[in-house]
Symmetry: C2
Subunit: 124 residues, 2 copies
DNA sequence: CTTCCATGTCAGAACTTATGACATGAAAGA
DNA sequence: TCTTTCATGTCATAAGTTCTGACATGGAAG
């Protein structure tokens, strides 16, 4: 089960992909970051690299805003869920090779299964 | 079911992400393209954009090569499976908005389910 | 010994992302 | 109503990434 969390926290998606997945502008995505609502990793070249967890988060923020919720509230809300998030640090310790294989599995899921009950599906 | 195929054929992944997912070099990935083994889309800026189907394909090619199979053989092999691939054209007709939502669902799957039986899982 | 293959590597041009600053319409206050 | 604050848009400049084409190379195949 730890693997699932790891897969989702592998940060390999660039801004353009996240924009496509969330339908948010780069400006919005970066702004939410300044509001401490997402914490993308950075590659060697200082480019933001998002994980699927980050994408989920952004979609939640998007929903929250649409629902009139403010950032402070969302920050507080997320604080609870963040206990698990420390797993993200763990992924950084994995060799690239290992990480790749984990994400491969994760991407594979895309193939065709029933969506669980987290953030993204609400947007369907 | 048509949606599933659409999701997997949404091309939004850049070279760097594909490199991370396949553990192949950019050179290899582009070379396989010259061998007609993958056909990534291009964005407005002429940058390659891969779909999850493309990633799967690349992993299959990688396996094929490791098994001593040659490109011509793989090309022939894939020809069969390509009937379905025309669906990719269909995705281009979808509005961006629509496409995004489809891929969101697809990405959502990553959340946590049992992997099906296609290419990627063989690499785990 | 000579070719062909699959990759590596390099160079220059074009595209993308990063940061910081200025602008703005809509809310919220005063 | 006048004034801030908020969430975004838009610009400019710098730096990172990807593209294509070309030259190089170790190992297979002849």
């Amino acid at each position: 089960m730890a693997e699932k969390q790891l897969r989702r926290s592998l940060a390999i998606l660039p801004m353009s992909t996240v924009m496509a997945l969330t339908d948010l502008s780069a400006r919005q995505i970066r702004y939410y970051e300044t509001q401490s609502l997402v914490h993308p990793a950075r590659n060697e070249g200082n480019r933001r690299r998002y994980s699927l967890n980050d994408v989920d988060r952004l979609l939640e923020v998007k929903d929250g805003l649409a629902s009139g919720m403010d950032f402070a509230t969302m920050r507080r809300l997320y604080a609870k869920t963040h206990q698990v998030e420390s797993t993200q640090l763990e992924s950084k310790r994995l060799s690239d090779e290992r990480a790749r294989h984990l994400l491969e599995a994760e991407m594979q899921q895309l193939a065709g299964m029933r969506p669980p009950q987290s953030g993204l599906q609400q947007h369907l």
